[in-house]
Amino acid sequence: MIALEPWLRARRSAGRKLLVAYVMGGMCEDWVESVQAIAAAGADAVEIGIPFSDPMMDGPVIQQAGVHALDRGATPAQVIDDVAAAKLEVPVAVMTYYNIVFRAGHRRMAKSLRAAGIGAAIVPDLPLEELGQWAEAADAAEVATVLLVAPSTPPARVRRICARSRGFVYAVARMGVTGERETLGHETTDVVRRVQEVTDAPVCVGVGVSTPAQARAACEVADGVIVGSALVRRLLEGGGPDAAAEFVGELREALDVG
């Protein structure tokens, strides 16, 4: 297993902007190959969605990918096994909703992630106040729990979230669900700066980052970006590993030139 935070810190120290690429586990026949291609094309880490029937943080594209995955029979166990078998050479985080974790059992889920070489988890409907049981199990299994800071999060809370986040801090670019946006507003810069005031952990911006130009703009202040819907849409359109790798290559180039 590659531990997420040291890996990202080392790359940041080397002057590199960080690219985290999201794919919904099980969404299409060649999703594993697509993830491998994404890693080879310059993603610094990959985030794998475990589909949930009621993804309330997700916009239409990720929702559709989740429906495809569930229709194809994807289960949490199968997605985790497939990730293990993919032998990725970058760190992996899973993103799912809390009921999937709760149903499996906190310790069982944490152990199965660890056994699959998955070193981090993002559970967006599990806020700080309810984090306890999962965080304990995840820490014991050395699975980093990445927490989110939103534009609406007040300063004292930003401090508490950043103190508890592991791997990196996920700065939510704007109020809303996942999905492609025309522009990133000033609230993106604001939220990143507020996080940076209280932590030296890597800060990555997600939710609405959809183009190479936006990724570069976000990285003028942030350490990196998380790109989901724009990539998943290409896979939904049948682009497969080639289209995924090409898009990730464009993002990489924009960040490296930045």
Partner: protein
């Protein structure tokens, strides 16, 4: 039935499982509600609206002919006579007042059968608030008349095409809207579900049903009824009713649709911001509830109901679609009252259990949570189908 703990838990159920972006809004709402609920001025304003606009107090009707048929004494708490046709108005008027106190200008709501959507649209019109109602595409088709009513009241109805296209998906869409609009929008949740403080707040706003009914029962009977029955989807009319009787010796019964009986068939899980009993599969995917009543097609129940079930203070039973249709017709024929299909579940249980687990001669209070006008067309079709099937 008291408040939950500081984090919104009723025993092992409740809590606040929402994305970080919504946590500050939930805290703001909690503080606004606590302040309002401790403010006699807020209660005076709310009570005046419920009286002068809503038509409260609602009567307690003794069903002489139905009682004669069943051999048990049936009393109806007549929430069908509240303005806009159901108990939902009690909740939305309170939340609209809070919306104004919080300085917000827009309401979003989910609706199943359309009763909560109509109530929210009604309150929005009364308070001059913008209003968007999310409704599953299947329910839009089943409840076309209610959609038109909401539109007449100035609300925008957005059909939801994701997932099972019913109530649970309407909640998802309303939450997604709220994440993006929370600076000026209040999510006017219709039942005792969702993240803290909604389950507690909605129960308190519906408490008036139980408090009135208890006083009316005491005036009529000189004591409490033996059994108190209400239907349960999310469970708001049941929670409000039970709140008036939890400290009496009355047997409390919640009746769910057999095709969506989370209290009976569910297992603990987390959905829509709460830990409760949910219909779900081995992996934790939420299952679709299915009944003739759009208002009860929800795969969970409010967390306080899960807690009442666990403690044994309340019991949760099921009624089948066929039993519900029979009860609907029975009340119409014997009492001249068309119940909504939702409370027809509560009646169906009474009809089935009269002379069995409800001994002859018992006194039974049933909350008639809404009127059946909205369901007449659907009942007509169902009865026609049944005739053809025979």
């Amino acid at each position: 039935m008291g408040p939950p703990d500081a984090r919104g838990w009723f025993g092992d159920f409740g809590g606040r499982f929402v994305p970080e972006a919504l946590v500050p809004a939930c805290i703001e709402l909690e503080e606004a509600f606590d302040a309002a609920w401790a403010d006699p001025g807020f209660h005076a304003e709310l009570d005046a609206l419920l009286c002068d606009y809503g038509g409260r107090p609602t009567p307690l009707t003794e069903c002489l002919r139905l009682s004669g048929e069943l051999g048990v004494r049936v009393l109806l708490k007549r929430e069908d006579l509240v303005h806009a046709g159901s108990h939902k108005l009690n909740n939305v008027v309170g939340q609209a007042l809070l919306t104004r106190r919080m300085g917000k200008r827009r309401l979003v709501a989910e609706t199943g059968a359309g009763q909560h959507g109509v109530a929210t649209a009604t309150a929005a019109a009364l308070f001059g608030l913008e209003c968007t109602v999310y409704m599953g595409e299947l329910d839009v088709a089943r409840q076309a008349l209610n959609v038109f009513r909401m539109e007449l009241l100035g609300a925008e109805v957005r059909p939801v095409t994701s997932g099972s296209r019913t109530l649970k998906d309407a909640v998802n869409e309303a939450l997604r809207d709220w994440v993006a609009t929370v600076d000026h929008t209040h999510y006017c949740l219709g039942s005792v579900m969702g993240p803290h403080p909604f389950p507690y707040m909605v129960r308190e706003l519906q408490r008036v049903v139980g408090v009135e009914a208890r006083e009316q029962c005491r005036a009529l009977l000189g004591g409490d009824p033996d059994v108190v029955v209400a239907c349960v989807g999310g469970g708001s009319n049941a929670a409000g009713t039970f709140a008036g009787f939890a400290d009496t010796s009355a047997r409390l019964v919640g009746v769910e649709a057999a095709g969506g009986a989370a209290a009976s068939d569910g297992i603990p899980g987390v959905l829509h911001g709460m830990r409760s009993l949910l219909l779900q599969d081995e992996a934790g995917q939420i299952l679709e509830a299915e009944s003739i009543s759009a208002g009860l097609d929800y795969p969970g129940i409010g967390p306080e109901h899960a807690s009442l079930a666990a403690s044994g203070r309340a019991h949760y039973e099921k009624a089948t679609d066929a039993e519900v249709l029979d009860a609907f017709r029975l009340l119409a024929r014997t009492e001249g009252i068309l119940p909504a299909l939702e409370p027809a579940h509560a009646l169906a249980w009474v009809v089935r259990e009269a002379g069995r687990s409800v001994p002859s001669g018992s006194t039974v209070l049933v909350t008639l949570s809404g009127r059946g006008d909205k369901d007449v067309a659907q009942v007509r079709e169902l009865l026609a189908e049944n005739r053809e099937a025979r």
